[in-house]
Symmetry: C2
Subunit: 205 residues, 2 copies
């Protein structure tokens, strides 16, 4: 029996930063106990994929019905297909005292933040701080338009970051995983998350 | 050169919980870089103590002058002697990008919270959650007055806890130290602490 409710952990970040790789490494890691929330999609199943493992595969009609019923924690439409996180499973797992781990796009993460503000929102950032400037200016051979574009992209990414609780640099997958684990462990020690169980312990509330 | 300001870490908790022991173990640990803030006192130096190591030993007059000048981050008077934390050293160390670690009584911690709200406030709690109830009811042989007193004490301690960011159980010193280290590492990844350096990196602000 767990006195404490599970914690929602949301990993997101700009596209191409390596969210999926970090998530897969997290799942292989046995140190931390959590349940990965499998997304639901209307796209066709591909060879080698398993329903309920890679995705929950769904028809367009039933996905839209879920949306209409408020059954999606977040969702998006890409190239005519829906992708999203079914809400009920997340709620049930949290109620059982197990942490839930989501790896989703930034727009989805902001939808989750609206609905579950006490989640832990982690922004995965490109390789490292110091490389940001060189990433922008390139090898010195870039024209001003390219530099401006990259600058604007970096600015957008940092702006996105401001909506998150933590920024984790993805310089090395194993290091990023370690940092996320530390965040999870330390978030479990946050007073607002544990004080209720102390009060229950002495019979107050 | 550090882009990030140092972080103030405050360890406190009810008397008798083992703050001093955990602090000493923290100081011996080489994993984490921080500076321990040596307290100032007006009590006499004892055999084996070193000025500037165990305490900064001061006269009553100059301690009171510091208070009057706003030079103390926190202070208290016990049995006619002052104890407190000199502010300037803390500020300088933080400005240099080094974390500062304080181990102080709960009243002092609340004074620090007022002045430096972006510090990390860690409450060390008695051995373990499950023992709280047995600590209160004893071996069943306690009279109601004793139980009521312990209950009230536990209630007060939990109330104190609510003013802190984290609750760390002191079941085993090495485990408590590990938890504190995790908190420190993960607090350094908090977006409000790092986003400024990202903006600086791209030349904004």
């Amino acid at each position: 029996m767990s006195l404490e409710k599970g914690m929602l952990i949301v990993l997101s970040g700009p596209s191409g930063v390596g969210k999926g790789t970090v998530r897969k490494a997290m799942l292989q890691d046995s140190n931390i106990k959590f349940e990965y929330s499998v997304s639901m999609t209307t796209r066709n199943i591909r060879p080698g994929e398993k329903d309920g493992v890679d995705y929950f595969f769904s028809s367009k009609e039933s996905f839209e019905a879920e949306i209409a019923n408020g059954g999606m924690l977040e969702y998006a439409k890409y190239v005519d297909n829906y992708y999203g996180t079914p809400l009920r499973r997340v709620q049930e797992t949290l109620a059982n005292g197990t942490d839930v781990f989501l790896e989703i796009e930034v727009n989805g993460a902001m939808q989750v933040r609206e609905k579950m503000p006490d989640g832990v929102f982690i922004f995965l950032t490109p390789p490292d701080l110091a490389s940001l400037r060189s990433r922008i200016t390139g090898r010195g051979s870039e024209d001003q338009t390219t530099i401006d574009k990259r600058m604007e992209k970096a600015r957008q990414e940092i702006k996105m970051m401001s909506n998150y609780d933590y920024a984790v640099v993805n310089d090395e997958v194993s290091l990023a995983v370690k940092r996320i684990e530390q965040i999870i462990k330390s978030e479990h020690l946050r007073v607002p998350r544990v004080i209720g169980s102390y009060y229950k312990m002495i019979g107050d509330k």
